[in-house]
Amino acid sequence: MQDLVFYFIAGCACVFAVLAVTQRSIFHCALWLAMTLLSVAGVYFYLEAPFLGAIQILVYVGGIITLFVFAIKLTAHIEDKSIRQLNTQWLPAALISLLLFYILIQAFASHPWKNIIPNAPVTSLQVIGRSLMTGYALPFEFMSVILLGALVGAIVIGKVKK
């Protein structure tokens, strides 16, 4: 029963992910991507990591996909049928993706998973907060500087020249 739930959510994620890259209309692609990310959030909830799941929905579906949709709406002619889905480098890209897929499968298959699943670590918010402010303080601050840079860059690009 429990496994069925997982397979259902994971299957949804895979199907939606395929749809997200094969659909012709780019608006539909964004919608299927949103569905994929929601399914991944569902997997997080299923694995009893509700914090991660909630953040996934808040950041990706509530924030990033909405920005995607805005960008699509504000870009002229992006919905045209004449826009090609593949560029000239599709063959090497496909080969590299297949290679990466093979490596990942090998890596996952060689790992002894069964020992880990029963004791999923119960991470409380306090633990996450404390580790962000002590052990991972440098990467955390680094991320905020990168985001600030992106913010300032967006303002500079968006500013109307007098």
């Binding site: 509700p50 808040l58 909405t66 918010l125």
Partner: protein, 315 residues
């Protein structure tokens, strides 16, 4: 397992009843404020009016306009309704009546209701109608902007109580509601204003401003699809009010009466407050609304957060 299903069904029943009651109540309040009678013919003082309206909506033909983007048009009502319904998972009706007390309840509500933006935009895009599209765009811009002060004011409550669980926040208010503390009172006002904008209500109902956009993003919807948008709007009103009651007004805590009664009284009072505002205030302009969110509400919320964080560290 059985308990899970039962609480799910109870929540669904509650949502339907609450939406029907709120629609009747809104019409009555608007009538009283405008010195009219409101619905009077169906049942005692029109109490059966929502049932008649529901039957009417169920029987209506479901019209799909020409040139729609079928996928977005068809999925949009679900994208608006389902997140609102799933938000009920963490609403604490009383000390024992909560479907599932997630340890990140507040975050869960904020994140799950943010999916609605996508549904509104899909409705606007899919309808192949310029009014719908404008309404959808405005709504998305508005909801994203007002989410910032909303989350900042919720963050203050989390800092004060030290937990994200809805029940934990209620328990943290055993010795006084949060709204009586000065910095949290400011946060409460910010929360009320931005949640009114989040659910697209007057004075922030720019996305469906009927004098310029017909009905905004749900112009082209008929029958049950329209009813789903309607139910989602009223349920969303209840969700933000219930969240406000839990975060700031002590949730189900109160003397003499059982917890459920207190919780429902506080929540419905806040819903009433929203309706009261709707029939009292005029609509603001789009640019006024955006500059209000970014130039006034967000800085105040940030300053409030900074100053109260400093006090919390000092004391």
């Amino acid at each position: 397992m059985i308990r899970m299903f039962l609480s799910g069904f109870a929540c669904l029943g509650f949502i339907a009843l609450s939406a029907m009651f709120l629609i009747w109540w809104e019409r009555k309040i608007s009538a009283i404020i405008q010195n009219r009678m409101g619905p009077m013919l169906t049942g005692f003082h029109g109490t059966l009016q929502p049932i008649a309206d529901t039957i009417k909506l169920l029987l209506k033909e479901d019209i799909a306009p020409a040139g729609i983007d079928f996928l977005s048009w068809w999925l949009a009502p679900f994208f608006v309704t389902v997140p609102v319904v799933t938000a009920f998972v963490v609403i604490p009706f009383s000390s024992s009546w909560v479907p599932y007390d997630l340890n990140v309840g507040v975050l869960y509500i904020c994140s799950i209701t943010s999916i609605c933006v996508l549904g509104i935009f899909m409705a606007g895009w899919g309808s192949n109608n310029k009014y719908s599209l404008l309404g959808g765009m405005r709504s998305a811009a508005q909801i994203i902007s007002y989410e910032v002060p909303l989350l900042l004011s919720v963050l203050l409550v989390v800092m004060e109580s030290g937990t994200l669980s809805m029940q934990g926040i209620v328990h943290a208010q055993e010795h006084g509601w949060f709204v009586f503390k000065p910095h949290l009172a400011i946060a409460f006002v910010i929360y009320l204003i931005s949640s009114t904008a989040e659910v697209n209500r007057v004075p922030f109902d720019i996305p469906e401003a009927e004098s310029e956009l017909v009905a905004g993003y749900h112009t082209e919807y008929t029958g049950m699809k329209f009813a789903m948008f309607f139910v989602a709007e009223y349920t969303n009103m209840f969700i933000v009010s219930a969240t406000a009651a839990t975060l700031f007004l002590g949730g189900w805590q109160g003397p003499f009466l059982p917890g459920v009664a207190w919780f429902l009284m506080k929540s419905y009072f806040l819903v009433f407050f929203m309706m009261w505002m709707r029939w009292t205030l005029p609509r603001v302009r789009m640019d006024q609304m955006m500059s209000f969110a970014w130039k006034l509400l967000t800085p105040i919320a940030l300053l409030n957060l900074l100053i109260s964080g400093w006090f919390m560290l000092k004391v």
